[in-house]
Each structure stands twice: as structure tokens, then as C-alpha cells.
Amino acid sequence: MTGAGPTDLAAPGARPSAALDIARDVRSGSVSAADVVDRYLGAIDEIDGELHAFVTVLHDGARREAESVDLKVAAGGDPGPLAGVPVALKDNMCTRGVPTTCSSRILDGWCPPYDATVVQRLRAAGAIVIGKTNLDEFAMGSSTENSAFGPTRNPHDPARVPGGSSGGSAAAVAAGLAPLALGSDTGGSIRQPAALCGVVGMKPTYGTVSRYGLVAFASSLDQIGPLTTTVTESAVLFDVIGGQDPMDSTCLERPVPRTVSALADGVEGLRVGLVSELVDGVDGAVEARVREAAETLAGAGANVEEFSIPEFRHGLPAYYIVAPAEASSNLSRYDGVRYGLRVDAETAESMNAATRAAGFGAEVKRRIMLGTYALSAGYYDAYYGQAQKVRTLIIDALAVAYQRFDVLLGATTPTTAFAIGAKVDDPWAMYLSDVCTVPSNLAGHPAISIPFGPDDSGLPVGVQVLAPALGEPVMFQVAAVLELGAPVLGPPRVHAR
């Protein structure tokens, strides 16, 4: 066997990892990838009717890929660090010949003629795409209720939302239907559902993971990232999918530092800023857990200090201008001409308008309207232009903060999982779910959410570690310590046996 076994990468004392165990066993030949895939497909078939984490399950495709991994092992080749590990993909990442829906009617029947770069990298690492997961339509939402195919349910309480928009991927990992998943994070869409489902969710530095093949929501904010059970898995998966891509002009040339090696370094002497704006005003139970997390880090030798970044208060309104504006343009191409849905009409213009009316759901229409308005003549400077200046203010404020601190700490979400239907009629109430996560997107910085025990009703709470651009190593270093010190969170009510 060539190369280091993946389990060698785990920090001492780290939580058990299904993904790394599978990769180790498949690489050594003691377990076949085909058996692994069958086991997960069986669990999906059994449970997913209740959760609806998946939009498409790739029974045949996954089995084919597993066979080719097993053949490679049998032939003595290196099947890659994630050999035989099933991965669930948010259904806004292109898969050649496999429907890619973005949970929207407007992409009805569309099969991309190409694979996203992350999909190519997963395959090269031996991972197996087992299915495409549900999301808020075009990743617009914080609850996965805005899916044309119906909502996904939270494995900890099926009456509640899993968060969003990567709710399908978060629920799949939490329920044990996939050891690893990818999501996309534009304003918190990986971290927020991770927090609500009790899994680890990480948004990388903008430009470290190729966006080629990720169906765009807001191009200057979108990043693909891992949803996993453990911090080690998050780091391993990030190392696999990251790196420059000639197909994405916004990818950084600079190689991403390998993050796995930082996991065991501890936090002795690290400076941690507890951001007032990310603890004050959040739900009491959430605040309590975040303060507990700060104590954990202090106990492990970090210097923790509370610190205010007032500019964070402008993050949400700025985000809800920038993201819809870019989205309004990115979603213009769904016009019924080249692919997907068409509603026929007398003229090309009325065909476009009828197709878009029938194909987009309410939230997507709302954001297209908002973004179109914000960019329209006479309003650009007041809204879009001003929001872009607020990004600068937030970046500058973070630069000041990072002169004093190595990482920042706060809540991932203002509340734990809420009931399905609770916020659908009040867009701004729903948008508030992203208040703690959007600053990292606006700045392009990395951030990770780690499960940190339950609230009073047993629902997962997430704490968030924020780091400066390309600060993934120190971010993972802190996350690993929090993971070790986290209070026990009970298993989800819905889970694979």
C-alpha cells in the first residue's frame, strides 16, 4: 500500500471517524467498497423516506464507482485517500449525465454535460458520489423548506428544519446516510445547517476551492465546503477538494496549506476573541454553550477575551443586497431557451417570463426582485455600491481584530432548529438565521461550526470559529480542541442502524 493511511492523520483522542475507517479498510482490502456502498444505499432506502435528505440517489452509479475502486485495490494501485468513502453532494454541483436540479422546477430534466471540479477531485481521491442532496432552491434559504421537491427534516426532530440551504447534506451526515457530504456556503448555508443538525460544517477561504461546476447563487460569496461528523474528516475532505483550478479565475494560486497536520497542535498560548456581536442577543441556551466553549479553550491554555466588532451589525443588511443582486444576474440564464423548463408562449419574451414565473419558487422570485431592484438605475449607489463599501468596513474591522487574536469565537446561529413552517411567511425573520455567519462570507474568510452539546430540549447547538483568510490550519486546530471538550449530544432520533 502506497502513501500514509488516512487514520494516521487523526489527532490523538479524536472522535471515531466512519469515513477514515472506511478508507483505511478499503485501502487495505479488508472491506470492499461495494459492500460499503450497499450498506449506505440500504440505509438511505430505509430512512430517507422520512428525512428527504436526498433528491437523487445514485444506486447504479455508486455501485459502478465502488467496483472500479475495488478493482484498483485488487490490482495493487493507490485508490486514493478517500477510497470507497460515500459522499453526498448538494444538488447544486454539476454531475455529468446525472440530473442536477438545484431543487428547482426550472432545471427540470437537465443533465449537465460536465462534472464540477470538486466532483473530479472526489473521484480522484477514491470517494464515491452516492447521491445528490436537497437544498433550498438555488441555495436561497435557511431551512431547506424552499425546495421544489418538499422540505428536508431534521434527524434530531423531524418536525423541525435541518437549516439550510445545505440542509439535505447536513441531515444526511447527521443521520448516518453518508459519512461525508459537500455543501455550499454563500451566507452560512454550510455552517447553519451543520449547527442545527449537530455536525461539523466548514466554509473555506474564498478562492481555495474551485467553484467550477457549482451552480452560482452569489458569485463573490459562494464557496463549497465539507459537512462531516468530525473535525478531522472536515480537514481531510478540505485537503482533497481544495487547490487551484484553471477553470476558475477566482481560485487562489497560492497552495492551500495542508490542514490535517495542524489538528493535534492544541491551543496553548493562542489568542481567542469572543465576539460580543456573536453572543449577545442570541438565544440564551446558545449563548450559554458559546461561553462554555470559550471556557473550554481557556482551560486548554488559550487566552480568551471578549471583543466587540460593531461593523458586524451591518453584515446582514449588506448581505441581503449583495447576494440577491448577484443572484438576479446569475439566474437570468434560466430563460427556457437552451435547457430545462420551457412554458410556451407567443413570443420569445413572453416565453421567458412565463417560464421563469412557473419555474422559480417564491423565495427565488423574491430575491431576484430584490436584487434587480438594488441594481436598477438610480439605486445602485445607495444599495449595491454602499453594501460593497460595508464589505470593506467589515474586512478592515476584522484586520484590526486579527492583530489582537489568532481566531474569533461566537455562535453559529441565533437559535437552535425551529419548527417547519415557523418562519415561511416572514422573510426577514428567516434571514436573521444568517446573522452570525454572513460576515465571513462578506470578508471571504474561513469559518467552521462545531457541535457543542444540546440545548435544553436536546437540540444541537453549534459554535463557530472564525479565522483570517487562509487561516484554516489554526481554525482546525481550535476546532479540534472544542470537539474534544464538547458536551455530549445525544444521537439523532432518525439514524441509520
Partner: protein, 112 residues
């Protein structure tokens, strides 16, 4: 500008949007909306714009906008051909095709 929404000065208080304003935006965005949808979006847009108005009122004198979080420059590729897609595969995805091309209903307006 005809149909221009009137929301008053940004940051000056509670903005309001009429159905006509919403209709102008829907035309720009090329989405057929019902009157009920227009009324609903007029109210909901005004609410979000109201929050944005707080940001609009900030003093950002001398602050440069950040269009992009990265300081990258001059990212280019060489002028070398790469394989194109198979036409049959491309056209198989289209709602209507004729003569190797994408078919659309007659076009009302001119390209500008």
C-alpha cells in the same frame, strides 16, 4: 425614468413600494407575476430595503467598495483551443431544436 420605484431618500425612514414599482422590477427581471404576487413582493421588498436603508445611511466617505474578496490580478489562459461539446448532447437538453439550432418563438424586441 418611467416606472421608476419611488422609495424616498435611502435611509430617510420607511420606504414603500407600489404595485407599479414591483411591476417595473418584474418586467426588468422578466418574470410574469400576478397582481397578488406584485402586492406581496412590494411589501416584502420594502421591508428588506428598509433594513438596507440603515446601511445606506452609513457614512462611507472615502471607503473603497469591495467587489471581490480576493486581491487577484491578471488571471488569464493561453489562446489554445480545447475540445467543444458534442452538438447532439448539447441539443438534447434543449426544449426545442431545428436545423442544429435552438428554436425560440418569434422575438418581439430588437437586441440593443
Amino acid at each position: 425614468m418611467p416606472g421608476q420605484p419611488e422609495t424616498g431618500e435611502p435611509g430617510s425612514g420607511t420606504p414603500s413600494l407600489t404595485r407599479e414599482d414591483a411591476a417595473y422590477v418584474a418586467r426588468l427581471a422578466r418574470i410574469d407575476l400576478t397582481d397578488d404576487e406584485l402586492d406581496l413582493y412590494a411589501v416584502q421588498l420594502a421591508a428588506v430595503i428598509g433594513h438596507a436603508a440603515e446601511v445606506a445611511a452609513l457614512d462611507t466617505e472615502g471607503v473603497e467598495p469591495t467587489a471581490h474578496p480576493l486581491p487577484l490580478r491578471n488571471v488569464t489562459r493561453t489562446d489554445e483551443p480545447r475540445p467543444s461539446l458534442d452538438r447532439a448532447e448539447v441539443l438534447a437538453q434543449a426544449p426545442a431544436v431545428e436545423d442544429g439550432r435552438f428554436r425560440v418563438p418569434p422575438i418581439l424586441g430588437e437586441a440593443l
